[in-house]
Point group: C2
Chain length 339, copies 2
DNA sequence: TACTAGCACTCATGATGGTTGAGTGCCAAG
DNA sequence: CTTGGCACTCAACCATCATGAGTGCTAGTA
């Protein structure tokens, strides 16, 4: 592909992103800034179509980029623009400092992504596998109900109601908690569960039921975030002419609710440390075949623990979306790290 | 309105609920089971229209009920059917027993409401104003970060990160927590905050900052649920021909996200203890003017603490929705009460 | 008096067909 | 290699028309 073809492709995709309609040879010839006739442009376009970068919806429409075209565009032609001062200010304002509650920051990040991009924003909740158990509490709620509370070093708090066969006194529970804290406190959650599992094999104490339940709580904390993911702004898809009205939208919404495959896809993209794009069919996930996903992993205290990003139509202003997602990931990571 | 008119109105509304299209005189004359001609039916329909129960979208269409018509229908003509065994089984299975986590039960209830009705289901989170403070913990996360944890008698757990000027040791924090528990434990959250506010006026201790933050956490617990409400299944509205495509849907979605006015409306409906219906404009809330809300308050340990229900088109099968919402409220209340 | 049949009228819906204009592919000349 | 020209395609738009469901009104009937 020669320089001129690249220039035309770039111009065509930019125009299509801006207007959403197929781009014809005349308009492209005019706006590309090269002094060539529409006929010449048509020849180039025909070549680009042969090579799979473009496609025309029907004979007498202009052409639109394929996912291959978009891929070439973002890899070779795109120049990202720095985050606008306005957006940056907003980002910092909303997630720029450590909040009193993790959940709140995650929500804020999801919301701001969706707002600034006018697409659906998502945040994968931080992995807790490497979290350290800071504190455990067992609290008697009623006769035979004990509330177990786990606290990690990052300030995550999870709790669970445990029903017991026999009533436990406050002192008894405090003792159990003390034992638990002394034995397992300050160790990674994974280790705690592992050791607990082993230790419980041996003894067969009355208190075991509580400890066993506590272990299950710990397991749930690790398992839960296998699935959890915040997503917001799906309704913005209603505005998109390329999605709205069709059955595709329904599928997409259902798929997003289902989450399972989506989470899978995102976990893949947690491997690197850079912004990653899945354009159209690249995701290998049918409901997303008309969409692009822009994602970026975020790190807490130097370790990648999650991923966030946006889901929108293939036709999105990548040069702005990419730095935005990137910036959000940075800020979220910082907000969740200890100051 | 005589008996025949009532019968025709009932029949018309039932047909319209079933098919969603305006009902004409011929079809109504046939299906109503009375041996009268379409012409007679037309006369009756004209009367009903004059009285405001019906309206015709245009001259040569049939007629559809107005919100006044629906109101009369549900008040005077409707006979609710008992919950189907199938639905009941599902309900009990999903929310029929006390779950280890309040949040989970609330989510389950929202989800099942949406699934069974094919409309949007909502659950207002339980009020905590009358909750009793069971336990408080202050945990040192890092040098100058303390995590405060509140536990109520219903097993609600809330936490908050507090940044302090000076580092606190574990012992010091334990002492503060002990003091806190001894002084305020076992008292209603409202009292705790009130007293704390007073007590803090006097002393000016180093530890105050933590106590003050703890108080703020308590206040947040009370305030937070002023706003919180779970809602699920809005996307089901996309299937409804009467809503889909129009600008109304967008407004509705935006309004539901906004929540504020909605929450207001629902808090109204918490006064009674019965299922309540807001049909069309009755809600006095413009975005809902094409919708009906069926709500029922739910009680924990004999006290009304929240409300749940569904939001859908005016054209909904009330005779099934009402018992379903009612049943869900009962079950949720029981699931959240102590066994 | 209450019901019904008949009739003229309305109006959304859907099919038909013609026009327009944007856009293409191809070819031959520069 | 580029360009102007030309025939061709096709979605989109618009006007027209037929259809049929449904209405209101009136006059006749039980």
């Amino acid at each position: 592909m020669d320089e001129r073809a690249r220039h035309l492709l770039k111009s065509l995709i930019e125009q299509h992103i801006a207007n959403g309609v197929p781009v014809g040879s005349r308009q492209l010839a005019r706006d590309a800034g090269l002094n060539i006739s529409p006929a010449t442009v048509r020849n180039v376009m025909a070549d680009l179509e042969d090579e799979g970068y473009l496609i025309s919806p029907h004979t007498s429409a202009g052409r639109i980029p394929t996912h291959v075209g978009y891929r070439f565009f973002v890899d070779a032609l795109l120049r990202v623009v720095p985050l606008s001062a306005e957006s940056n200010r907003l980002l910092v304002h909303r997630i720029g400092f450590r909040a009193p509650d993790t959940e709140q920051v995650l929500h804020a990040a999801t919301g701001i992504l969706s707002e600034l991009t006018h697409m659906a924003g998502f945040v994968r909740v931080p992995r807790r596998a490497t979290r350290i158990l800071r504190h455990v509490d067992f609290i008697a709620l009623h006769e035979r109900e004990v509330l177990a509370i786990f606290v990690t070093d990052k300030g995550d708090v999870e709790n669970r109601l445990i029903r017991t066969e026999h009533p436990f006194g406050t002192a008894e529970l405090a003792q159990a908690a003390n034992f638990f804290n002394a034995t397992y406190g300050g160790r990674p959650l994974q280790d705690v569960i592992h050791n607990l599992q082993r230790d419980l094999q041996q003894s067969r104490h009355e208190m075991d039921r509580i400890l066993r339940s506590a272990m299950e709580l710990g397991e749930e904390m690790l398992e839960e975030d296998q699935q959890r993911m915040l997503i917001e702004g799906e309704f913005q898809w209603l505005d998109l002419p390329e999605l709205a009205g069709s059955e595709r939208l329904r599928e997409l919404l259902a798929a997003v609710r289902q989450k399972r495959d989506l989470v899978h896809l995102l976990d893949e993209s947690m491997r690197g440390s850079e912004v990653r794009l899945f354009i159209g069919e690249e995701s290998g996930y049918a409901p997303l075949s008309d969409c692009s996903v822009v994602s970026a992993p975020y790190s807490v205290d130097g370790e990648v623990v999650g991923v966030l990003g946006v889901i929108g139509p293939m036709r999105m202003p990548y040069q702005q979306i990419i730095p935005l997602v990137d910036g959000t990931a940075q800020l979220l990571g910082r907000a969740l790290s200890q100051s």
